[in-house]
């Protein structure tokens, strides 16, 4: 099952297009990182997935074939928007009660236990909690709904390092216990590998790179060798980024790993951060949805 699937998804606000022709097929059971610079369209994409905005063109479905924003999808998808909006004038206890009453599925005991563990006092007004505590509360409420998909819009942006750690630890522990899918957006690339196993890179409203992080890392290499041979060598591969010095050049290439390197050339692994930055720097570089999605693979196997 694809937890999020888009086909030609495009979204326009008045005159500007926030998203252009996005095609995604995100498999279920992953922790997906959606990265890109500010203004890339990450929030728009997430809002389309949770039904807060409707596509101008194309389609988007979640959890298989549910329309994004349909009542069935709303039941099973939990969302924490940027800045974790909550009713500030309510007490924590009332906020939990509101959430419980707005959903047919809600684990009150789990929510209370988590809040106790987080030491968030139930009688305090939400507005009086720290930023980190508010984010934790919003997350606790989302998790208590028992979602099949958890969507987080820049959850760590305004949190201090300790709050960040605690927040993601809560998410990871919940996934370990219940096995749902997660999509979170971030404009910080470092430390992504720790949490995510699937990556979507968005820039200027277009999908530049998408795929399993393991696959992405094995299919890209940095080749280094003499500068004068770099053009020739580069023709054998899909080059994402070239960096030249006087006598020495480095090529970041996409490769299946089967071709032989000429002598004098070395190949090295590339880090995720390096890879993402390279793609972001070159708007024309885009990674086609790489290895077949599991269901497609089955279909093509069966067809043989």
């Amino acid at each position: 099952m694809n937890v999020v699937e888009t086909s030609g998804l495009a979204k326009r606000y008045r005159r500007t297009w926030a998203l252009h022709d996005c095609n995604l097929a995100v498999p279920a059971g992953r922790i997906v990182a959606l990265v890109g610079p500010n203004g890339a369209g990450k929030t728009t994409l997430l809002h389309c997935a949770v039904g807060l905005c409707t596509a101008t063109n194309g389609s988007i479905t979640v959890l298989g074939d549910l329309g994004a924003g349909s009542l069935e999808a709303l039941e099973r998808v939990a969302f924490v928007a940027q800045d974790a909006p909550l009713y500030r004038y309510l007490s924590v206890r009332s906020m939990v009660a509101v959430t419980r009453n707005l959903n047919s599925r809600f684990d009150q005991a789990q929510a209370e236990e988590r809040l106790r563990g987080l030491e968030i006092p139930p009688d305090r007004k939400v507005g009086k909690l720290s930023g980190g505590q508010q984010a934790q509360l919003a997350l606790t409420l989302a998790l208590a709904r028992g979602p099949d998909l958890l969507v987080l819009d820049e959850p760590l942006a305004r949190l201090d390092p300790l709050a960040r750690h605690d927040f993601m630890a809560l998410v990871m522990a919940a996934v370990a216990a219940s096995g749902f899918s997660v999509i979170f957006s971030s404009h910080v690339v470092s430390e992504l590998e720790r949490f995510a196993d699937y990556l979507i890179v968005l820039a200027n409203g277009r999908v530049q790179m998408v795929g399993d992080i393991d696959d992405l890392l094995t299919s890209h290499k940095v080749l280094s060798g003499p500068a004068e041979e770099s053009d020739l060598v580069g023709e054998q591969f899909t080059v994402v980024q070239t960096r030249k010095a006087a006598r020495h050049a480095e090529l970041l290439v996409r490769t299946t790993g089967e071709s032989q390197l000429p002598s004098g050339w070395e190949s090295d692994d590339v880090s995720l951060e390096e890879l993402v930055l390279a793609y972001l720097r070159d708007p024309s570089a885009s990674m086609l949805p790489g290895p077949l999605a599991p269901d497609e693979l089955e279909v093509s196997e069966a067809a043989r």
Binding site: L170, D197, G257, S263, E266
Partner: protein, 162 residues
């Protein structure tokens, strides 16, 4: 450290293992976990029958993707170091040759006073020493005399290694 068989409900059991991550080391996370378990086994901090911490406890303390922990545990199981019992957890199954603390200390001393001193006298700096050592280690591993099973390394084999 052994885990007590009877643990009070109100007390959290003492974990058999604490993990540490070095995010910038270049070594994939799951491999770091694997190495740490192997290291602990070698030093005798983990013994046959110990239960490795539950996935969700590792995840909660380290704040990492659960799949990473699962991958590490699978890796250990494939190497025969652990065995997973459904519904119960992952347990240490083998006791590889533990290199005792004494032996480690004497190996370290002999390396420092022997080979390292020679390399320094030859004029090699730190980086040069490391590079040379790694190359020699690789040679040692690849040599046909090596009877140990080839380990799957986190890094890909170099394309067209010279």
């Amino acid at each position: 450290m052994r885990i007590d068989k009877e643990v009070c409900e109100s007390e959290a059991p003492v974990p058999s293992m604490v993990f540490r991550l070095e995010p910038r080391s270049g070594v994939p996370t799951y491999l770091q976990l694997v190495h740490q378990v192997e290291h602990a086994l070698r030093l005798g901090y983990l013994v046959h029958g110990d239960q490795l911490p539950r996935v969700k406890d590792v995840v909660a303390s380290l704040s990492i993707n659960p799949n990473t922990v699962l991958k590490a545990y699978r890796d250990l199981e494939q190497k025969g170091l652990t065995i997973g019992r459904p519904g119960q957890g992952t347990f240490i199954a083998a006791s590889p040759e533990t290199v005792g603390l004494e032996q480690l200390t004497s190996l370290r001393r002999s390396l420092a006073s022997g080979w390292l001193k020679q390399a320094a006298d030859a004029g090699l700096d730190e980086q040069g020493t490391i590079a040379l050592f790694m190359a020699a280690l690789r040679d040692f591993r690849d040599s046909p005399v090596e009877s140990r099973p080839a380990r799957r390394d986190g890094r890909q084999r170099r394309v067209g290694a010279a």
